[in-house]
């Protein structure tokens, strides 16, 4: 029996490896395929993801809810006594994510073949896309924190490449730099957290650390949240068990939090995501809506046991704030993709908040449903933008194809797209019969349950969460109304433009239909009103999480949705009139929202500029102080040398010269007596004799 299980496991592992490595293979193949615009590359990548998808479905069926953990690792390298492994860990969470990523990536690949068909960088696009898929798939299946970090950075890197795909656009390269650097903040947070965990527990293994019998769970229970190192190395001071200050446990949490905030665009590191919309829309759909940005939530899911109560509260507060803040910003944006980006941030805020309030399974449930409907909305946006760009190019206009103020009435020209947008939008709002209803209601209900009996301050979190839902309803309807209802606004300015637009071919239609189907309730639960009947919720359900029936199960969904419908109606009435700006643009709240709460300005003024100034200051320090010191030492040396030279010339040489001069003058004086004049000789002889005579007489 064991052998049989092992054989199955080995097969599963092989399948997993194949599923992860196929996109990598596609990436490598695409690298060597010649030409810049070779249709083969698109097919290579798509086929790779298709096979990967099939494989992951197989794996999913084998692992999901079997309660059996597939875990296998191989030694990678050894450093000192540390052994680093490459390994695969398959549990419910990872197989779900594996399947999800593939299910989202497949339609996006198909869509991309049409969307990017005229782009000069077609090959490059599909290479990068496959590389992203590889790193994202690796991220969800790896079994240790080192590999996790590697995959984590690689998804950031491929996101960098894809945001800056049109590298000659100034804004795109600004955006990808910003995205990477902000993600880097999260990366070093994650690295710090991983290394603190490693330094304390001496293992990188996710299963050992956070699994069912995790050491962190045990330690947290026994030591009231403080971490003790189970260290038994040859260098440990014997008899002293190493104790980690709780401040460092908190730092580890902050590290994880930064990582989540950066990847999942949570306050305060969310500002890169709206800018990341400079990339191709298909990329935004895959990376910046469905998969990569969800990696932060996935990380929370992986390391969930390490958080204590205060840390979970921080997560809840930040998630709730982000959800609310992003929703308010989305109200006033005019760029189609920017609205969707902020709604993504808002929904991710829900997920993080759900993690914080202990709604672990609802959070992951929302992650999955959100992936479908948000990807759908982005694909719709891509089609709309393409058609607007068509109008622009056909009529040689100078307009921004992403500005919703130019759109309107597209419902008639693009019926399929409209229906898809409607389904996606309603799922985003969370109306019944959509998948969004199931997952979002779960979060809201549990938020109320969580805040029960904790004081009114904690009530703010569910209150704001519900407020955000209504805001969401408003901006979604604003978006859909402005884009699809009424008449094309461009006609007001350019009455004579020709329109040759439509839904596009099967490569557009199939992904839309697929994702729209995924945004409806039957995929997740046969009961459209109860999230607790969803198979996904059950699969993720952790013991100890809040559960049970309650008043909230009735009040919350009914109340929320009735008011949502009112909001929807109001928004439709406001925007169906097609006034450009139905609200005052000068009020403070409007400006706060339109300027995205001034985060970019604040960061630029208080972080970017000071850091650059600090760089220049250190350089000046280098130049002036250190080099100045070196130079002054050099000058001092020179001065000393000059002094020595002077001494040499005037004192030491001077003394010698003096002696010479004295001797010379004596010689000259004596020479005079030998002028060859005999009489002189005699005279001097006489003088000498006289002198001697006188001297002898005197003495």
């Amino acid at each position: 029996m064991n052998n049989f299980l092992q054989a199955i496991d080995t097969l599963t592992i092989k399948f997993t490896l194949a599923a992860v490595l196929l996109p990598l293979l596609a990436f490598l193949i695409n690298l060597v395929i010649p030409g810049k615009h070779n249709k083969i590359t698109g097919w290579v990548s798509t086929l790779a993801i298709l096979f990967s998808c099939v494989l992951s479905a197989t794996i999913f069926s084998k692992v999901w809810n079997t309660g059996h953990l597939v875990h296998q690792q191989f030694a990678w390298f050894t450093v000192g006594e540390t052994q680093a492994y490459v390994g695969v860990l398959l549990n419910n969470l990872s197989v779900l994510m594996l399947l999800l990523v593939n299910l989202i990536a497949l339609p996006v690949h198909i869509y991309s073949m049409a969307y990017m068909k005229d782009d000069a960088g077609y090959n490059r696009y599909f290479s990068f896309l496959s590389f992203f898929c590889f790193s994202m798939l690796a991220l969800v299946v790896v079994d240790n924190l080192v590999l996790f970090y590697i995959a984590w950075e690689l998804v950031g890197f491929s996101s960098y490449l894809l945001i800056g795909f049109w590298f000659s656009r100034h804004k795109a390269v600004q955006a990808n730099k910003k995205a990477f650097i902000m993600n880097r903040i999260g990366d070093i947070g994650l690295l710090t957290a991983i290394l603190i965990i490693y330094a304390t527990f001496h293992t990188f293994d996710i299963n050992i650390l956070f699994g069912d019998h995790s050491i962190i769970k045990a330690i947290t229970v026994y030591n009231r949240g403080e971490w003790y190192s189970p260290l038994t190395g040859s260098f440990t001071i014997p008899g002293v068990s190493y104790h980690l200050d709780d401040i460092w446990q908190f730092v580890a949490f902050i590290g994880i939090f930064l990582a989540v905030a950066a990847k999942s665009a949570q306050f305060p590191l969310h500002t890169w995501l709206p800018d990341a919309m400079e990339g191709p829309t298909s990329v935004s759909a895959l990376i910046h809506a469905a998969t990569m940005v969800a990696a932060g939530v996935f990380l929370l899911g992986r390391v969930y046991p390490m958080f204590n109560g205060i840390e979970l509260n921080i997560l809840a507060i930040v998630g709730c704030f982000t959800a609310f803040m992003a929703a308010t910003v989305a109200l006033t944006q005019n760029d189609l993709k920017r609205i969707l980006a902020y709604s993504t941030i808002s929904q991710l805020g829900y997920m993080v908040m759900a993690m914080g309030i202990g709604a672990y399974s609802s959070s992951l449930f929302h992650l999955v449903t959100h992936a479908f409907f948000k990807c759908l909305l982005f694909l719709v946006a891509g089609i709309v933008i393409h058609q607007m760009a068509h109008i622009r190019d056909d009529n040689k206009l100078d307009i921004d194809p992403q500005n919703i103020q130019n759109m309107g009435g597209l419902r008639k020209k693009m019926p399929l797209t409209f229906i898809a947008a409607l389904i996606g939008g309603l799922a985003l709002i969370g109306l019944p019969f959509t998948s969004g209803y199931l997952s979002k209601d779960g979060i809201l209900i549990q938020a109320f349950q969580w805040s029960q009996g904790k004081g009114w301050l904690f009530m703010l979190i569910p209150a704001f969460a519900i407020l955000t839902t209504w805001l969401t309803a408003f901006y979604v309807i604003r978006l859909i109304t402005k884009v699809f209802f009424g008449d094309l606004k461009l006609r007001e300015r350019f009455p004579n433009i020709k329109l040759h637009i439509g839904d596009g071919g099967w490569r557009y239609a199939v992904p839309l239909l697929f994702l729209a189907a995924g945004s409806l309730f039957p995929v997740f639960s046969f009961n459209p009103f109860s999230y607790e009947h969803s198979w996904l919720y059950h699969g993720m359900f952790q013991t100890g999480a809040t559960a049970g029936e309650g008043l909230f199960h009735v009040i919350v969904p009914v109340g929320v949705n009735i008011f949502s419908v009112l909001v929807i109606y109001a928004a439709y009435r406001i925007y169906a009139k097609q006034k450009t700006n139905p609200f005052s643009q000068t009020s403070m709240l409007y400006r706060l929202s339109a300027n995205e709460w001034y985060f970019d300005e604040i960061y630029k003024k208080y972080i970017v500029v000071p850091v650059l100034a600090m760089g220049r200051a250190t350089f000046r320090l280098d130049r002036r102080v250190i080099d100045g010191f070196i130079h002054s030492v050099a000058y001092a040396g020179m001065a000393l040398a000059k002094a020595a030279m002077w001494t040499d010339r005037y004192i030491i040489d001077g003394f010698l010269n003096l002696i010479v001069a004295v001797v010379q003058s004596i010689g000259n004086f004596a020479r005079r007596f030998q002028g060859g004049k005999v009489q002189y000789y005699i005279y001097s002889m006489l003088v000498v004799i006289l002198v001697i005579f006188i001297l002898t007489t005197l003495i």
């Binding site: 000192g80 006594e81 970090y149 603190i196 260098f235 730092v251 760089g615 080099d627």
Partner: protein, 534 residues
């Protein structure tokens, strides 16, 4: 014939040959040099494959465990009552040197390939190049302090002339600055070396000895001698061994370089011709790190242990200070030079942690930085050769006209900023791992140090990406206009052949770090045990 001896002295023989060849053959000199470095590379790879693993080959402080060892009496003087003066020709390698040795051989090949840009006085250039070649290889192989010192000083002379004669506009300034800085360090090193010689006696022959391995054993110190552990002698009121350690550390720290002893580096790099920049950044800096590990920490382990906090501190300061400086640069080469300061800070941090992870990370970081800085300087040289300008703001949108070049730049930049999958990530990550582990295994470094160090990784991303964005992306806009546009041709075959192995190597080392770790692990473990026993 000992393979190490052969490895060390092949270049000097070739240098003689080049020196006597008529100048009319000068077109061939570069091929001769390249062939020599390739032969050396072949020899080092052979050494690498023959290098034996296992605890019994760890080396470090056991003379018998060194490999490819050769020991010949070199200078023997009978000083009568003062005993015998004994200086040996003593070479050998262990895990600490093998990785650096192979890296050095490879970097020399690249430097030889980069020498194609040299157009004037070829004979002089290549003769000096080969002398330098001999000296750097000799440094990594020497086990006799005196021999080490000779090779160490021998490097200065060719470098001085290589910078001073073939360098840029301010070459004399840079050359003299470099020379004086390094000389300042090594002069005091000489004093400590002599002090050590007078303190240590070879237990076998009973003579004073320069052998580093004997110096590592406290039992070999004569009682009452200056540097004896037991005698507690003082110099100027400070413990003699502390003074010795600090002096040696300063000597090597100048080479590494650590803040604030680093200002020779940007000037020397900016002014030096590309091959010399490559050797400077790729090899010379590593000699500093190697010296700190084997000589400073090896000979004065208990001082290093006591001062580890300060070592780590200097490392962290270097990381952040270098990165901030790199952020402020307008000159591509200067930016790379400051990034070297930042990256070498990780080496110091790893050493200071005194853990196996940290030390392995430090060695890995040195090897990785050897390849990466070589690549970066070569890339900077490519653009400088084309238009004789390196101002970051003078270029924009280069990706449009030089796509292959840009790809290599992207690889080099991302590898340098520590993208996983490349070797620098392994080096930096394990230096930090060691530093993080240090509080729990030996309590030397506090936790905040690696946290601050990791900020350097963030700044690294900032300056590399900013440069990338400014120079390579956006719409094409060159300071030199259409003249530059025609001059800026994409990479040629030679350049591609140079860059490709480097890119592959850093990738391979990132994916299979065991290529390095496997060879150095035994020595590192032995070294840490040796430190731990203090």
């Amino acid at each position: 014939m000992n393979i190490l001896t052969l490895l060390i002295f092949t270049p000097i023989l070739v240098a003689f040959v080049i020196a006597v060849l008529p100048s009319s053959w000068r077109a061939g000199f570069k091929y001769i040099t390249l062939a020599t470095t390739l032969v050396q590379l072949g020899m080092s790879i052979w050494i690498y494959t023959q290098f034996k693993n296992g605890a019994s080959f760890a080396g470090v402080n056991h003379e018998g465990q060194f490999q490819f060892m050769q020991k010949l009496p070199w200078i023997n003087l009978d000083l009568g009552a003062m005993g015998k003066m004994q200086i040996d020709y003593f070479v050998g390698i262990d895990g600490l040197s093998i990785a650096l040795l192979v890296m050095t051989s490879l970097v020399l090949v690249i430097a030889a390939l980069a020498s194609w840009e040299i157009k004037s006085n070829l004979k002089g250039f290549f003769v000096l190049f080969l002398i330098l070649d001999m000296a750097v290889i000799g440094v990594f192989c020497s086990l006799d302090f005196f021999l080490f010192y000779i090779f160490y000083e021998l490097m200065l002379l060719p470098l001085y002339f290589l910078i001073g004669m073939w360098g840029g506009a301010r070459r004399e300034y840079a050359a003299i600055k470099f020379f004086l800085y390094t000389l300042f360090g090594s002069v005091f090193m000489l004093l400590v070396m002599i002090g050590l010689y007078l303190s240590v006696k070879d237990p076998v022959t009973g003579n004073h000895t320069f052998s580093m391995i004997q110096m590592m054993n406290p039992a070999n110190y004569e009682s009452g001698s200056v540097f004896s552990v037991l005698s507690h002698a003082t110099i100027l009121g400070m413990p003699a061994r502390t003074v010795g350690f600090v002096v040696l550390f300063i000597a090597f720290a100048i080479k590494v370089p650590v803040v604030p002893l680093h200002t020779w580096l940007p000037d020397a790099h900016v002014e030096a011709p590309t091959p010399v920049s490559i050797i400077l950044a790729g090899i010379l800096l590593k000699i500093g790190g190697y010296g700190i590990i084997r000589i400073c920490v090896g000979i004065f382990p208990e001082i290093a242990h006591a001062d580890a906090y300060w070592l780590g501190m200097i490392g962290v300061i270097s990381i952040i200070y270098g990165a901030l400086n790199a952020l402020a640069q307008q000159d591509l080469k200067r930016m790379i030079a400051y990034s070297s300061v930042s990256h070498m800070g990780f080496v110091l941090l790893g050493i200071a942690s005194m853990t196996t992870e940290g030390l392995s990370g430090a060695v890995m970081q040195m090897v990785s930085h050897g390849f990466l800085s070589t690549m970066l300087f070569f890339l900077a040289g490519v653009i400088y050769n084309r238009v004789h300008d390196r101002g970051i703001n003078h270029f924009r949108g280069l990706a449009a006209i030089m796509p292959k070049y840009t790809s290599f730049v992207v690889i080099a930049f991302f590898a340098s900023l520590g993208l996983p999958g490349f070797s620098a990530f392994i080096g930096e990550a394990f230096s930090l791992t060691g530093a993080f582990k240090s509080p729990s295994v030996n309590g030397l470094l506090p936790y905040w140090m690696p946290v601050c160090g990791s900020v350097g990784i963030l700044l690294g991303a900032a300056y590399f990406l900013w440069t990338l964005q400014r120079m390579f992306f956006g719409t094409l806009n060159l300071k030199g206009g259409s003249v530059w546009k025609t001059a800026l041709a994409d990479l040629n075959i030679r350049e591609k052949l140079t860059l490709l192995p480097l890119a592959l190597l850093t990738l391979v080392l990132g994916l299979m770090p065991s290529l390095v770790f496997g060879k150095i692990n035994d020595s590192v473990v032995a070294f840490i045990q040796f430190l731990g026993s203090k």
